[in-house]
């Protein structure tokens, strides 16, 4: 198991928490599409997630293949989820 730095893991767990809120609200909205407050909260966390991921990727490399990549292509080397100690 590779050890990664604390800052990386902290940032990743922060993203997980925000994305989990987005996910829960999305499932709720699938069956309650006209719940205005849930849509507002959903969109609030979507914006925050976008911001946190940009920040994370600029330091630790792309999380997705459609993220902007530096040279050389960094997606393959940023840590794989099952190799990280959280």
């Amino acid at each position: 198991m590779s050890h990664h730095n604390k800052d990386m893991v902290d940032k990743l767990k922060n993203i997980m928490a925000v994305d989990f809120a987005v996910w829960e609200l999305s499932l709720f909205l699938d069956t309650h599409p006209d719940e205005r407050r849930a849509i507002e909260d959903h969109n609030k966390y979507v914006r925050l997630s976008y911001q946190l991921k940009n920040e994370y990727e600029s330091t630790y490399g792309p999380m997705r293949l459609d993220s902007i990549s530096p040279y050389p292509y960094k997606y393959i080397n940023s840590p794989w989820p099952w190799e990280i100690e959280y």
């Binding site: 198991m1 893991v9 990743l12 767990k13 993203i15 997980m16 994305d19 989990f20 996910w23 829960e24 999305s26 499932l27 709720f28 699938d30 069956t31 309650h32 599409p33 792309p62 999380m63 997705r64 293949l65 459609d66 997606y75 940023s78 840590p79 794989w80 989820p81 099952w82 990280i84 100690e85 959280y86």
Partner: protein
């Protein structure tokens, strides 16, 4: 289509190598009520759902199940990391080692390979949603058994997360069943 994101839905840790627990966790990697079965079930049934809420929910929960499959895979990978053939054999994973070394394979806790026979897709939305509600309950009780089989705090935390997701999915499938029943009532179709 799908995009992969290099992140787990939940930060899954283990405290130590535990081959026995890894063996049990295969129940949720390739068993009848596994995360794999759940993903294939919902992502297959969604095509014939009659209302937008149901198409959306089966797509989204089916996708989440793939993320859960990855969490189970991560737990098994971490629990078996660096295990020797002899340790694998002593833990009852000798047959697994013979065929798969330390690699993962979608089989259940007893080594029975995954099969599509674990899922139903009847084309009847009411019947399919009842299967989905039952699937969530079966997965919930499997997680409860797995939780009682370990004292590893990291494994318990991850399994408790996954167990609670079954409760939430049960509620959502129930809500969508209500909406589908209402839809048929408006169309004067009664099952």
């Amino acid at each position: 289509m799908w995009y992969y994101e290099k992140k787990l839905q939940y930060p899954a840790n283990v405290s130590r190598t535990d081959l026995g627990m890894a063996k049990f966790l295969f129940a949720q990697y390739g068993g009848p009520d596994s995360e794999l079965a759940a993903a294939v079930r919902y992502l297959t049934q969604r095509y014939t759902m009659p209302i937008p809420q149901a198409k959306a929910l089966l797509t989204d929960i089916g996708t989440e199940e793939l993320a859960h499959w990855e969490i189970i895979g991560t737990l098994i990978y971490k629990l078996t990391c660096g295990a020797t053939p002899e340790q694998m054999r002593n833990a009852g994973l000798g047959d697994h080692f013979a065929q798969h070394d330390n690699a993962l394979y979608p089989h259940d806790a007893a080594g029975v390979p995954f099969t599509a026979a674990y899922i139903a897709s009847t084309g009847d939305p009411i019947a399919d949603l009842h299967e989905d509600l039952a699937a969530e309950q079966k997965a919930r009780t499997t997680y409860e058994k797995l939780i009682t089989l370990t004292n590893d705090a990291g494994v318990i935390a991850a399994l408790s997360f996954l167990r609670e997701r079954e409760v939430v999915h049960f509620q959502r499938f129930g809500e969508v069943l209500m909406l589908v029943q209402e839809h048929y009532q408006h169309k004067h179709i009664f099952y």
